[in-house]
Structure formats: C-alpha cells, structure tokens
C-alpha cells in the first residue's frame, strides 16, 4: 500500500470505502463503538474492549467493534454505543460485555440496566435523546466517537481529506484565505483573533521558508478539549495544517504537543505515518500537484507560558520558553525568523469542514461576532461532567443545568470559571447571558481555550483565586517584572486574607497591582494573570470582606478561619472522632458528650468526615 495517491485514486478509495460501509449497513451489520478516550480507557475501557471482542468472537456475532475517540460523557464512562440502533450504554464494566453481545447484538434486546435513563427503554432509546447531548452540536468533534482514529481509511470514508482535495484543485491560496475569513472563524486558543487574518499576514510575506505550527500545548488546568480532539480525530489536524500550508505557502508544519499526553502523541504518530504511506504527507507533488508538505511532532515539557506564541516558538527551537515582545508577530517573523502561522488544535479542527461545506454554512452558526461552535471541558461541581461542543451564543444556564444536569448533592451554584488562570469567575447573575468572545470579555472573563469549571457554595472564592495565582506565580517565566513581582505580591496578599490576617487596605492594594500587571506585562500570561483576582473583587466583594473583617470563611475552605465544634445535642459519645484525631484534640468518655480543644485542633477535618451523626459542625 505504499503507492502515492492521486486525486482520482483517493476519490476511488473513498467511494469504495463508503460503498462497503453502505453495504454493511444494508446487510444489517451492527457496530459497537467503545470510547477510547483517556478517561474511559483508564476507567476499565481497555479491558472492556478486550472483553467485548472475546464475547463477540465466542458468540460468532456479525458486529464490528471499534475503539473510537472521546465521546464526551466522561462522568459516566466507559461508554459503549451501538449502531445503527444508536443505543447508548453508560458505566459499562468488562463483566457487562457478554450481556451486550448476547442480549443486544445477537437477540436484539436492549440491556436496560446499562442505559443512561432506564425509563427511556420504552420511550425510545436513542443516544441523542440524552439531555447531555440534546443541546450539543458537533463540528470540531464530528469524528470523535465515530471513527477509529488509528485508521486513515476510516477517516477517508468520512469525507476525510476532501477539504484538502478541494483546496488543492478547486481553490487558489487567496481563495482559501478568503473562505476562512468569510467563515468568521476566530482563534480557539483564547484570544479570538480571526484565523483568516493570521493566514493573510503570513501569505503576504515573501520568504524562502514558511511554517505552520499547531499549538497542542494545552496547559490550562481543567481543560482537555485539544487532547480529546487529537486522540479522536488526528487526521483532521493534519489535513487542516496542509490546507493552511497551501494557503500561506508553507511547506513544513510542527505540532507542539504536551509530553503528558502519551495517547494523543501515539495516535498522531500513527496518523502521520499512515498519511505519509498514502503520499498525502512528507513528499513532493501531493495528490499529483506541485504541493509539498511535511509535519513533525515536537514535545512540550510542562511550561504554561509556552501557550504564548513567542514562547512556544522558542521552545520548538530548543530554548527556554520565554516570550519576546511583539511586534514582530510570528506570522511575519516566527520560527527561526521565518513567517509562521500558529493555530490552536480546535481552530484547525474547524478548517476542513469550512472548506468542504463553505463559509456560508459555518457562519450561519453562532452569534454576530462569534461564529461556529465551542468545545468546553465541563468539570467541577456538576452532575454530568465531560466534553461538550455547543453553538456560540448558548447560555451558561443551558450548559450547566441542561447539559450538565445541574449541581450535585443538593448544593447551590456559586460561580462558573472560564479561561483557566487567565479568566474570571462568573457569578449567578450572568447565567442567562449568551456566551461569545465579546460578552465574556465584558464581564471580565475570557472565552479561553475551553475549560469551564463549576463551583458550588462549598467553594471559597478567595481560595480559588489563590489557587490560580499559585499556578501563575509558579508558571511565570520571570522575565518581566510586573508578572514576576506583581503575581507574588498578589499571592502573598491572598494568602494573608485566607489566613485571617487581611487588612481593609488590601483591597485597594490588590486593585493597583492588578492594574499594573495588566498594563505592563510582556506577554499574555502576565497581562491576564490578575483576572481571577479582578473578578473576585468585582463580584464577590462580600465574601472577601467577610474574610478580612469577620475573619470567617463561610464556605469552610480556608483552614485557618474555620473552627470545628461538637454539637452536644447530636453527640452520643461513640468516641469515633477522638480516635481519628491525629492531634488528640478531642476529649470525652464513652457515651458522654465530647469536646474539641481549639488550641490543639489542627483543622484536618478528619473528625468532621468521620462522624456519622453530623455532630461536628463548622463554627
């Protein structure tokens, strides 16, 4: 199979594969899609896949078992989907494999106990009926959970490399850029710069060598959109980079990916290998044209600042990942001084569909200024956490309460956080605001790369702001002063406040530092690092003042501000708490009321978690 494909042979291959799939469908062949994302894999998904294969072989069932990319519903994984019936099984254990094969595949009986909503068994049992998926629209994740990411044929059968064909044979480089401009696609890495503009800048520069870089250094804590896209649909990224290469005149691409993502790296390596074998990559005259392109992987090494374009390029060059002032912008002077387009994974995942379906189709989705969809990693205090893709303009309420199923354990919603350490906490009053780049910026947060973390009333805003500052202080490269010193000063202030040593003057002090960092830092990391603190001061002032003036943390998170006490009405003297206390701070005899000595208590919370009668309270 080492023949280089031409346009004709690629079309013929696609037609053959599509026809084979159609025949299988008519012939009643069933498919079992097993989620092979990292979360499901590590939750027993690998063993499940093996068990299903074995059970199917034993039963001699006419079924094709495919390990796909992430289906998104990580909370209830491992997930198994049966096609064409579109039955959606959740929390599937390897022990359930025999039931799925024997009852469902062989006898056509749905295994009710494994359905998400058991009552749906009668009403209709389709995957799209699940509320988690009802409001989603999958463009970026169109192939995730549908195709086998380790097979290029599977990708080709699903309109794979059709965009590249169109770009090479039916469009001029200017035409490609115009299409991307018209689509209104903006960078999904966070800042939202129009992608077509970036390409245009690079295309306008004369140079002997240009580069396309895919930023897959997903560093935001609490975000894994790019990882799932790469794991589930690696060829879509390769195809998009090639299209970008054609548009800008670049012949070489680099994917800068976190070393912490072994599965995504493996799947990309397989994809690159397969594309090279087909002559789609790594050779001259791709598909019989004059187009040349190759892609290499470069590993990140755990530096958040490398999400910043200039720092990322320094890291690819093998140096310390420190940013440099812009301009010159990388599109003009980037990798080794050559024009370089840097696009984020999610941005690139949109390109091939925009080319095949057209800018008009794409720009019909979303709001006036923000087109298309956005992938979010919905996590934190929400019932259905997982990976979701929604049209721009959806409200937070729809995401958290309809898709996410609301807040678990009967708690109440306190805040949502977008944009990771560079974003802000969004209070309940904005739940009904449509989400797009502009509206999020207006309320002091950012779209960010897609982390969406939900907090409930047991989360303390001061503690969360402190958590993010710890992160940015740790990750600051130290090159410019506002970020290096400002971040540390903010963190120290927050620490004092969380320990009950805050002063009323701290409020103004923090405001001044935020302002200085925001205006004077060299790169995006420093400029946005104060956003969590600014959001805290803007929307959660009451909580901050309670910490400073009353020396109290109502959420019970700031250890130094809480005090445990035993409610004598509830205590029956079982001695459990006294036995788990590591500091011997609890006194009392059997069947007598116990008391905590606040002098000795180290506030570890062991007694609080141990007491079954809820006799231990936060005072």
């Amino acid at each position: 199979m080492s023949n280089k494909l031409t346009r004709e042979s690629l079309d013929a291959l696609r037609a053959r594969l599509t026809e084979a799939n159609r025949k299988d469908e008519v012939g009643g062949k069933q498919y079992l899609l097993v989620c092979g994302g990292t979360a499901c894999d590590s939750n027993g998904g690998l063993a499940l896949y093996a068990a299903l294969k074995k059970a199917a072989e034993y039963a001699g069932a006419n079924v094709s078992i495919v390990r796909t990319g992430c289906m998104g519903f990580c909370e209830r994984g491992p997930i198994v989907k049966v096609l064409p019936a579109d039955t959606f099984y959740v929390d599937v254990k390897p022990e359930d494999a025999a039931a799925i094969i024997n009852e469902h595949i062989v006898n056509g009986q749905i295994v009710t106990r494994l359905l998400y909503d058991k009552t749906q068994a009668e009403a209709g049992h389709e995957g799209k009926d699940i509320d988690f998926y009802a409001k989603q629209q999958r463009i970026v994740l169109r192939h995730c959970g549908v195709i086998d990411p380790e097979k290029i044929d599977d990708y080709i059968a699903h309109e794979g490399y059709l965009g590249l064909e169109k770009a090479l044979f039916e469009m001029t480089p200017e035409g490609i850029i115009q299409e991307v401009l018209d689509s209104g696609l903006r960078g999904r890495g966070g800042a939202g710069f129009p992608t077509g503009k970036k390409w245009q800048f690079s295309a306008a520069v004369q140079a002997d060598q240009k580069y396309i870089v895919c930023n897959a250094d997903e560093g935001d804590p609490g975000a894994y959109m790019d990882r799932s896209t790469l794991e589930g649909d690696p060829h879509a990224i390769l195809e998009a980079m090639m299209i970008a290469g054609r548009a800008t005149g670049a012949t070489k691409g680099f994917i800068y990916i976190r070393a912490e993502y072994p599965l995504a790296i493996k799947r990309l390596q397989i994809a690159i290998e397969q594309a090279r074998e087909y002559g789609l990559l790594g050779c001259e005259n791709i598909l019989g044209t004059d187009f040349t392109f190759d892609i290499e992987l470069r590993f990140g090494a755990g530096a958040f600042v490398c999400g910043e374009e200039t720092a990322l390029l320094a890291s690819i060059e093998g140096k310390r990942g420190q940013p440099t002032p812009r301009p010159p912008f990388p599109a003009v002077k980037g990798l080794w001084g050559k024009p370089t387009v840097i696009n984020n994974v999610e941005t690139l995942a949109n390109i091939a569909v925009i080319i095949t379906k057209g800018a008009k189709w794409f720009s019909s989705i979303g709001t006036a200024t923000s087109k298309g969809t956005k992938v979010f990693a919905l996590t934190g205090k929400v019932k259905n956490s997982g990976l979701i893709e929604v049209p721009m303009g959806i409200t937070l309420r729809e995401i958290i309460f309809d898709i996410g199923g609301g807040i678990p354990n009967g708690r109440t919603f306190k805040a949502a956080q977008t944009g990771g350490p560079s974003g802000g906490m969004i209070p309940p009053e904005f739940l009904d605001m449509p989400i797009d780049y502009e509206s999020l910026a207006k309320i002091g947060s950012i779209m960010g790369s897609g982390g969406l973390i939900v907090m409930d009333d047991t989360d303390c805003i001061v503690d969360v702001a402190k958590f993010y500052l710890e992160f940015t202080v740790d990750e600051s490269c130290g090159k410019c002063m506002p970020c290096r010193i400002g971040g540390r000063a903010l963190l120290n202030t927050l620490t004092r406040i969380s320990e009950g040593r805050g002063e009323p003057e701290d409020i103004q002090k923090m405001r001044d530092i935020c302002d200085a960092m925001n205006r004077a830092s060299l790169c995006g990391l420093g400029q946005t690092a104060s956003n969590p603190v600014q959001a805290m001061l803007r929307y959660f002032m009451d909580e901050v003042l309670t910490h400073i003036n009353d020396r109290k943390c109502l959420a019970g998170k700031c250890k130094k501000l809480i005090q445990y006490r035993i409610n004598p009405e509830r205590c029956v003297g079982c001695t459990m708490c006294a036995r788990v206390c590591p500091a011997n701070a609890i006194m009392g005899k059997v069947k007598e009321k116990h008391v905590i000595d606040p002098q000795k208590c180290v506030k570890c919370g062991q007694c609080y978690n141990t007491c079954k009668l809820h006799a231990i309270e936060l005072a």
């Binding site: 990292t38 939750n43 560093g219 804590p221 470069r298 990140g300 755990g302 093998g318 080794w336 934190g380």
Partner: protein
Amino acid sequence: MSQETKTLTPELRAFIEEWKPRPGNLIMVLHRIQQTYGYMPREIVLELADLLEVPLAKIYGVITFYNFFKLKQPGRNLIQVCLGTACYLKGGDDIMKALEHELGVGVNTVTPDGEFSTEAVRCLGCCGLAPVIVINGEVFGKVTKAMLPGILDKFRNK
C-alpha cells in the same frame, strides 16, 4: 539504589547523532534521556554537552526551565497527583496530604526504601474522573483517601 556512573547507551548515542543536525533538537533529546533514566543524570548531561557541542549552562538552563525535567531520581514507582482545577475542587490536595501521611515522606521525596515518590502535576485531562492520581502511567480516578493503601499495595515490592 545503584550508584555506578552512568554512560550513554549505544541507542541513546545513535538517537542523539540522528537529531544533531536538526535545528531545535535539544528538548527532544532531553525527553529521550529522561525516558531512559527517569531523570537527568549529571554524567549523561555532561556527555550530551560534548556530543551536541552546546554549553553545559545552556542545557541546564533548559532543563531547569521546564517542570517536566527532573534532576533527581524518582522512586521506583512514581505517583503523580493531579492538582488541576477540577481535581483541586474535588479534594486533590487532601489526597496529596493523605499520600504524604501514608508514605511518611513529603512531595518530591523518595521513600527510604526507594519504592515511591510523589509529585504534583497540572491537569492530566481526566477531569471527569476527578480527583485523579497516576502511578507509573496507570490512571486511578475518583480516588478517596480510603482507597490509597489498597492502590499502593498494588505497586509495593512488585
């Protein structure tokens, strides 16, 4: 723990030679070294500086800049505790404290028997399973303090 001086394995030497002419090779080579030894042994870095003809200071500048590269040898079993936002909110730091208690040593320190060491990592991308720990690449999700002794036993003296 073995204290003998380490030298570059032939495979590693070949890998470095292969990458030497390519621009931006340093980080990729360092990844390979850490993959082989689990950390960056000083002897090896000295050899590398000679081979690549790069000043030692520059190599150490890069190693110390990135969190991923380690200068000290980790325990036989490396425990990574995720402290990304989702895991933090769901008690990741309590898991870390419980682990320190269980192992009797703090974070980034090897236990006296050389079996375990713990490190904090930022987001492993399994937020749906928070809180998460990873031991030698194996992911454990929705971890509770009570589960820790059982999980550690799976790896101890194996």
